[in-house]
């Protein structure tokens, strides 16, 4: 039986369909393993060979990878949620209720989106701590550390803009508290020190699109949350991963 399976597998990898997708055979020789890394889009983000200490779980705790994975989970669940959500004051909360009671697996979908978001904020922060405590920000990795800090800020902003979208009391007032801070910006805020702008032209107004949180704010946060910030995050992540390898791969003892 096993022999037959083996023969079937050998036949399978030789078929034109299989070999058009996977250009190398079974990854059971060093050559084929190297080719697997090179020929696969996702795997080719990795170098062909990695320092052994960098593979140890207790060195990285997989935190960067988990953050990236959670971002992908957020993207997938987020796109699915977008099918059922309309960013207007009239419908937003209704759609949340529909997700909870009418949409199949809607509640599960939203739970996953929410918990993965909290998880991502946590893993990104802990990832930063890991990088700090292993001294991995030191030259030549200074720039990548800064990209990482920007990604942390983007993660917080993504989470914060998403917080408003359910349009419930929790969302409304948490975002009110959060955006009120912008009013206190020196010079640019209407209530900050040395303020020069009125409530209708200050930085908080541009953030909210109105004096108080309104439908404009909801639309703004929706567009930021679903398009602008994820795009920025993807771009920075590209630089982040690229630079990890350009700066000499995972950090290690000299």
């Amino acid at each position: 039986m096993i022999k037959r399976l083996k023969r079937f597998a050998e036949w399978l990898v030789r078929t034109q369909i299989w070999s058009s997708i996977f250009r190398q055979g079974w990854p059971d020789t060093e050559r084929n393993r190297i080719l697997t890394t090179i020929n696969t889009l996702v795997f080719h983000l990795h170098p062909i060979k990695v320092k052994s200490h960098g593979i140890k779980v207790k060195y990285t705790f997989c935190l960067g990878g988990i953050s990236f994975f959670l971002f992908i989970v957020e993207t997938i669940t987020g796109v699915l949620l977008m099918f059922y959500y309309r960013p207007t004051v009239e419908y937003a909360y209704q759609d949340m209720k529909d997700l909870e009671f009418a949409v199949t697996f809607g509640l599960f979908l939203r739970n996953m989106h929410r918990w993965a978001a909290h998880g991502m904020v946590l893993t990104v922060i802990i990832h930063m701590c890991r990088v700090f405590y292993t001294g991995s920000y030191k030259p030549p990795r200074e720039y990548n550390w800064c990209v990482g800090v920007s990604l942390l800020v983007l993660t917080l902003l993504l989470s914060f803009t998403g917080y408003l979208l359910p349009w419930d009391q929790l969302a409304y007032w948490a975002v009110t508290v959060g955006t009120n801070m912008a009013k206190a910006t020196p010079v640019l805020g209407a209530e900050g020190p040395f303020h020069v702008l009125s409530e209708m032209t200050d930085i908080c107004f541009y953030l909210r699109g109105s004096v108080d949180i309104s439908e404009n704010t909801l639309l703004r946060f929706y567009v930021l949350h679903c398009i602008a910030l994820p795009l920025a995050a993807v771009g920075l992540m590209g630089i982040h991963f690229w630079r990890v390898r350009k700066d000499g791969g995972i950090s290690g003892p000299l």
Partner: protein, 254 residues
Amino acid sequence: MQEQQPETRITSSDSKQKDTASETQKKPDKQLAFPHLVFKEFIALMLVTLVLIIISMAANAPLEEEASPTKTPNPAKAPWYFVGLQEMLVYFDPWIAGVMIPVLIIVGLMAIPFVDKNPKGVGIYCFRERKFSFIIFTIGIVAWFGLIIFGCYFRGPSWLLYMPWESWDIHKPVISKGTYILPSFIGVPATIGYYVLGMWLPILLARNFYKTLGSTSYFITMFFVLSMFGFIGKIPLRFIFDIKYIIHTPWFSI
């Protein structure tokens, strides 16, 4: 995980593979990314997915009643990652707690690799070789999460102190938001003295530290370190001496 594979020549090689080959000769302590690294990543990914699914089935994402601008909940808490800043609002005016502190944190974090001149401790969790940066960063992280935990679990209606096991229905008298405003002839020299002494004393007492950093890095480092301790230090000033402002001007107060 060490696996001995016969070295195979790769014919379709590019320059990168040559690099890897020459590096392997120098440092034999490397492993193929496929399967060793990819395998662990896959396990981490599966575990995270499993945990996410379990949490999403066990706990529902919060959804309160529909947003209503006329009904202010008490307290209105920000999302947990901003609660630390909200807690700082007790001790500082919004322009410091909501604008200056986050900006200083972000700029300070980005400055770390450029002011840390200590080349040691890369690639290992090592306290002994970089005590100063280790301690400062840890204090910052602990303070950040300490404030978050305090704000989340020890603050109730009107942002008053409620123990986690206390009911929010208990009426509590409003505590003062600090009564004493230090007169300018004490507050201004005290603040200037804090920074000047804080920067001057280490030059006298820890000459080596100053010399290895160089003056620019030294003053930038000390500015951020002293500011951090200053922000944290105002908390006991408020609790013990009931001080509202250290510096009070018609335009801004600290």
